[in-house]
Symmetry: C2
Subunit: 178 residues, 2 copies
DNA sequence: ATTGTAGGCCAACACCTGTTGACTTCCTAC
DNA sequence: GTAGGAAGTCAACAGGTGTTGGCCTACAAT
């Protein structure tokens, strides 16, 4: 079959996202990604040059945090994060690989420093303690993703979105305001 | 050099723990572990049979949760977990590998189901909601480990044990009692 | 109809992995 | 002092990895 350059590149990228999200950096082999994309492994190299560069492209990600009313920020953040996780594979990619791959960990750090921290400053007007607050929020929210989507603790998997929001939003709210 | 069988086995196991904790399952190669133990890779196979069995031995782990007064359980749990993490590589091994290795994830699940949940039942006397409570606690506590020790968010790394306990214990306490 | 080019495929490379079996060396029990 | 066995070494295997270069093949412009 014959495709345009842009098309194949997109197909490869989509396959790479899935594989990296499901298997992590090492287990997601170029050959497996190529097979998913129904393409020769050499094409992956032609379009992305290197496995690391392909990963960098697949890990491109924006939290897209919305503006929030300060008194509902806790619930808003938890809800947004849950939906983002399920809609965008980028976060899964970063969490699965960030644990054993320093480059992905660094990316995670810059995302939280560049996107979560500013929001916290904006919400609290307290730049001095914003870093701690933001990391505490990150710790709870990433712990949620870890236990629900990665380690799959049964009670976390069984819980509904609303139940999780009810449990977690007071925590996040307290990390913001206390 | 000539050692007893038990000695070498212990040396190998110690090296394996370190490597698995630092690198995760795939990157921790038998050759690297053997080099750390100043031993031929074949010895590792002789003593443990298989990489998977070696991993199983290295991931042997007990949370050793202490008895706690119900009203101070939050602080007690956070403190115990922080110290356990730094004293025993077993937890690091499990978290680093559990993210990409199903066997390690299963081990993590049974540890939390078999050790955290009973404690929660004991503390609350409420068997029905104990699973949710226990997983919520696990989510916060694992999120702490993830952001402080694995992803190394700077504010979490900089925080002292007491600061972290002060921030997290109300969260854990609420997951226990609310 | 011919040619240039871009998309795609194949086979191979050098390297690394877990794992195996044969070989050597040392200590101990008789 | 010699036999047996345990501790340790070495070289190789089969399979998988990222990556490369040469080769086709379809299409568009001339």
């Amino acid at each position: 079959m014959r495709r345009s350059s842009a098309e194949t590149k997109a197909v490869i990228l989509a396959a790479a996202r899935e594989r990296f999200a499901a298997d992590g950096y090492d287990k997601a082999t170029i050959r497996a990604i190529a097979a998913d994309a129904r393409i020769d492994p050499a094409m992956v190299m032609r379009y992305f040059g290197t496995k690391e560069k392909l990963f960098a492209a697949a890990a491109e990600f924006d939290l897209e945090l919305p503006a929030l009313a300060p008194d509902q920020a806790g619930a808003g953040l938890v809800r947004h994060f849950l939906r983002k996780w399920e809609a965008d594979e980028g976060l899964q990619v970063l969490l699965r690989t960030g644990v054993t791959n320093e480059a992905a960990a660094e990316r995670m750090r810059t995302i939280f420093a560049g996107q979560v921290m500013p929001l916290v400053i904006d919400l609290t007007g307290d730049p001095e303690r914003a870093p701690v607050r933001a990391s505490l929020i990150a710790s709870q929210v990433l712990g949620l993703a870890l236990s629900r989507y990665i380690l799959k603790f049964p009670p976390m998997v069984a819980a509904t979105e609303e139940e999780l929001i009810a449990w977690l939003s007071p925590t996040v709210q307290r990390y913001l305001t206390e």
